[in-house]
């Protein structure tokens, strides 16, 4: 007999439905899977057989053929175990025919007949919903992930036996209740806070500005100055994620298999720190399965590059496209996928290879040429996309021990949210959300300067030897400072302050 069960496959963040056709026929006992299945799918044979037997059902001693249609696209992963098992049971009339028809079924089986967690459920549900499916059977372990999507009925089970009982009508089961999303629900979603950062008033201010205007930031400072801690604190002062943002992030994390099943949805903004030996495919996404890379995992959050000049040139240059477009295209022989990659870049570097240049207490051992080579590893076009470059101070023992408690993340976040609200109002309907994304035309309109400001900007450029390309950066940052200040126009004090956040333009390392 033949049974046809609906399941789902993913390609990037989108998916398509897969018909799992199971044919059980007379012949020598065998089990064959066709339809471009990968090894994990082919190995389902053993799991399906053991799970059916251990759930006290009959496993047919016949020839079993499984076809995954459409037959020309690749299927991978273990999520077809459950639909195949249901198909086998249906084909041998252990489940009433058509009882399973309205459901999209996914799940991995364990040998004892239990159901296990699968990767990528959130994107599967969202994509299937768009294709008109409304009923789903999923493993219990994925229930939380599913509970945030309203408008569909998701039934979660922990055993194959329960699925069969449900389909045969022996047992009534309620769909998973829908939760309402609240980003604030987890109080301690970050385990750091800005109040732990001692001293560093200058750098803290720069961080606040960067987050308020969506600017990328580079910290320059000696080892042990607290650059990493400050970078980790950045997500804590970013506005809470909206539901849409959280779903986008969850989809990506679900596909990558790093989603915390206990949480179900990502509420904390991601903070990703790829090591400096990271390869281009690991950063941008790739591999045989075209998986999302670090830039996509950092979507709606922070990508932190510690010791930026240590990264390979090629790796750094590849960042330019996602920084510009907010998406990354991963092309592989069989497929080409788009992943979102809208992140805030936070980078850090030492002032010189030994780290002591400019220090009051330590002698720098680097030659001028070494320092130049070190700094020049960051190309102009890349630096062009980093609006703020600030120096971070080496912290002294006294500061570490006796510094007065500093402002908490919550206080800073309030100011950031206010400034963001101003920007949302200003750029309404233009596809731009923050000052950092301003187009040239918008800059003309929103960064108009009074003659006095023009004069001081010009003086700053002459006096501080700044390069020409710094001007747009300074203006954008000045705009953000004005927004934080609650001022409609950019005033001279905003410009003079913005100038201080352009360390690398000043040819310090001459």
């Amino acid at each position: 007999m033949l049974a046809k069960v609906i399941s789902y496959a993913l390609s990037g963040l989108d998916g398509f439905d897969v018909a799992v056709e199971v044919d059980v026929n007379a012949g020598l006992p065998a089990y064959e899977v066709v339809g471009l299945a990968d090894t994990a799918v082919k190995e389902s044979r053993e799991r399906v057989r053991a799970a059916i037997k251990n759930s006290l059902f009959d496993y047919p001693i016949k020839k079993i053929t499984v076809n995954l249609a459409p037959a020309d696209s690749k299927k991978e992963g273990s999520l077809y175990d459950l639909p195949i098992a249901v198909g086998v049971l249906a084909a041998t009339e252990q489940i009433p025919a058509h009882s399973y028809k309205p459901f999209v079924i996914v799940g991995e089986l364990s040998l004892d007949g239990g159901l296990r967690h699968i990767k990528g459920l959130m994107p599967i549900l969202l994509s299937a919903m768009q294709n008109g499916y409304t009923k789903f059977i999923v493993p219990e372990e994925n229930a939380k992930e599913a509970s945030y999507i309203s408008g569909i009925d998701v039934y979660a089970f922990s055993k194959l036996k329960e699925v069969v009982e449900f389909l045969s009508g022996e047992k009534e089961v309620m769909p998973v209740p829908t939760r309402t999303f609240s980003a604030q629900q987890a109080e301690n979603k970050y385990n750091v806070d800005f109040s732990e950062v001692k001293g560093q008033q200058f750098a803290r201010r720069a961080m606040e500005i960067a987050v308020a205007g969506g600017h990328n930031i580079l910290m320059i400072g000696p080892p042990g100055a607290g650059k990493t801690l400050m970078a980790k604190c950045v997500p804590t002062i970013m506005p809470d994620m909206t539901f849409e943002e959280a779903v986008e992030v969850t989809k990506i994390h679900s596909v990558a298999g790093i989603l915390d099943a206990g949480k179900g949805i990502v509420t904390a903004r991601p903070f990703r720190t790829p090591h400096h030996t990271v390869t281009v495919p690991a950063l941008m996404g790739g591999g045989a399965k075209a998986k999302p890379g670090e830039v996509s995992l950092a979507h709606n959050g922070v990508l932190f590059l510690d010791e930026m000049p240590e990264y390979q040139r090629q790796t750094l240059e590849s960042l330019r496209q996602p920084l510009e477009d907010g998406t990354v295209t991963v092309s592989r022989a069989k497929q080409s996928l788009d992943y979102p990659a809208k992140f805030m870049l936070v980078a850090s570097m030492n002032p010189c290879p030994c780290g002591n240049y400019g220090s009051k207490t330590q002698q720098c051992r680097c030659t001028a040429a070494e320092i130049r080579r070190y700094v020049s590893r960051l190309s102009g076009p890349l630096l062009d996309r980093i609006d703020l470059q600030v120096e971070v101070d080496g912290i002294s023992y006294e500061e570490l021990r006796f510094a007065p408690p500093s402002e908490s993340s919550a206080t800073i976040k309030e100011r950031v949210e206010k400034a963001r609200a101003v920007q949302r109002e200003r750029y309404k309907g233009s596809g731009v959300h923050t000052n950092a994304q301003m187009t040239n035309a918008q800059m003309k309109k929103h960064c108009a300067l009074s003659p006095e400001c023009e004069r001081i900007l010009e003086a700053a450029f002459r006096k501080l030897n700044m390069t020409a390309r710094a001007s747009t950066r300074v203006l954008k940052v000045a705009r953000t400072i004005a927004d934080l200040d609650g001022s409609a126009d950019i005033q001279s004090r905003h410009i003079t302050e913005a100038v201080q956040y352009r360390s690398l333009d000043r040819k310090y390392w001459e």
């Binding site: 008033q201 200058f202 002032p351 009051k360 003086a459 006096k463 501080l464 302050e497 201080q500």
Partner: protein
């Protein structure tokens, strides 16, 4: 420029690799012509030099500076590019040399003295190396003064490479000099040799900042040997970068100088602080008063003392920097601009 056969012989000899060994022979020969007979290549070489705008001044030439002639082992040929009149005996020349790894202090000192020398109409001689040398040349050029760079490579070889712009500027407004024929690559052993020309061309040598064993200490020793005036600027006793200078003072080999007036009569007054004080706002004056007490002060300390907000202080410091009252040093330190 027309070259005599003697000149041509000297030029061609300087191209030969055995040139240093032939020097003794040159001294004992009646005329260089005895050592060099084949002139077939000389015209091509001179043609090439003319094309590059390089002029050769030999020991016999009337343009050869007499102060250089009197040192031990004067160069037989000087390859020059630029304003040759700077070699004239009527020009007052002073050398400024020092470490290649310059500190903030060294920079300030070098600028201060180079500016004063240049304002007083002196020609500043240096070696176009990194650090103090470059700083001295740049300052003089910015003041529209005259400067001579003595190279340790061929006159047309730019070393260090990042000084390409500076090289062009000196060649057009000042003078580039070398005893090595065009095309000679920079080798370490040539730099100490060239130092004798720096001190030889100058009335006195000023070392603004130099560590112990620095190449500029060689220049200092040569200045003493050649009977020139040696001036050094004292530094912080804990600073390795000033150890060479401080040692010279300790050994009583050099005159310690603390202002340009110690060496020359300064013609122009250099802006004075009293005038500026009038233009400062109250807050700016407060910042200046904090900074006056110390070499430099950190942002966080200024923040604590001034009682201003981070954004207010940042804006204020930035403004003061733009107007040239203070300098921002690396590591978020601020100091009063030496120019004041």
């Amino acid at each position: 420029m027309n070259y005599s056969d003697d000149d041509k012989a000297l030029i061609m000899l300087s191209y030969e690799s055995s040139y240093p060994r032939k020097r003794d022979a040159l001294d004992s020969a009646d005329s260089p012509k005895e050592l060099y007979r084949d002139y077939s290549h000389a015209d091509v070489t001179i043609e090439e030099m003319n094309r590059k705008g390089i002029v050769a001044i030999t020991l016999n030439s009337k343009y050869y500076p007499s102060c250089l002639k009197n040192i031990y082992d004067p160069p037989q040929v000087l390859y020059c590019k630029g304003d040759v009149s700077l070699l004239s005996d009527t020009v007052k020349r002073l050398a400024i040399v020092g470490t290649r790894r310059i500190t903030r202090y060294g920079k300030d000192v070098t600028r201060e003295f180079a500016r004063a020398f240049s304002d007083a109409g002196c020609c500043v001689v240096s070696g176009m190396a990194r650090g103090v040398d470059s700083e001295a040349h740049k300052t003089v050029l910015a003041e529209n003064g005259k400067t001579i760079a003595v190279l340790g490579s061929g006159t047309d070889v730019i070393y260090p490479p990042e000084n390409a712009e500076l090289y062009e500027e000196i060649a057009s407004k000042g003078l580039i000099v070398s005893e090595y024929p065009p095309g000679t690559p920079p080798h370490a052993f040539r730099f100490p040799e060239r130092n004798r020309i720096i001190s030889g061309l100058s009335e006195g040598v000023l070392v603004t900042e130099a560590g112990a064993g620095s190449g500029s200490m060689i220049t200092a020793d040569l200045a003493i040997e050649q009977g020139k005036d040696l001036y050094v600027v004292p530094g912080n006793i804990f600073s390795q970068a000033s150890k060479g200078c401080n040692d010279k003072i300790k050994e009583l080999q050099a005159a310690a100088v603390t202002c340009p007036e110690d060496i020359i009569k300064v013609g122009k007054a250099h802006g004075d602080r009293e005038n500026l004080a009038v233009q400062l706002t109250l807050e700016q004056a407060r910042i200046i008063s904090f900074l006056e007490d110390c070499e430099s002060m950190h942002f966080s300390e200024l923040l604590a003392k001034s009682g201003l907000g981070v954004n207010e202080l940042t804006a204020l410091l930035s403004e003061m920097e733009i107007y040239g009252f203070i300098n921002k040093l690396s590591g978020n330190y601020y100091a009063i601009a030496q120019k004041l």
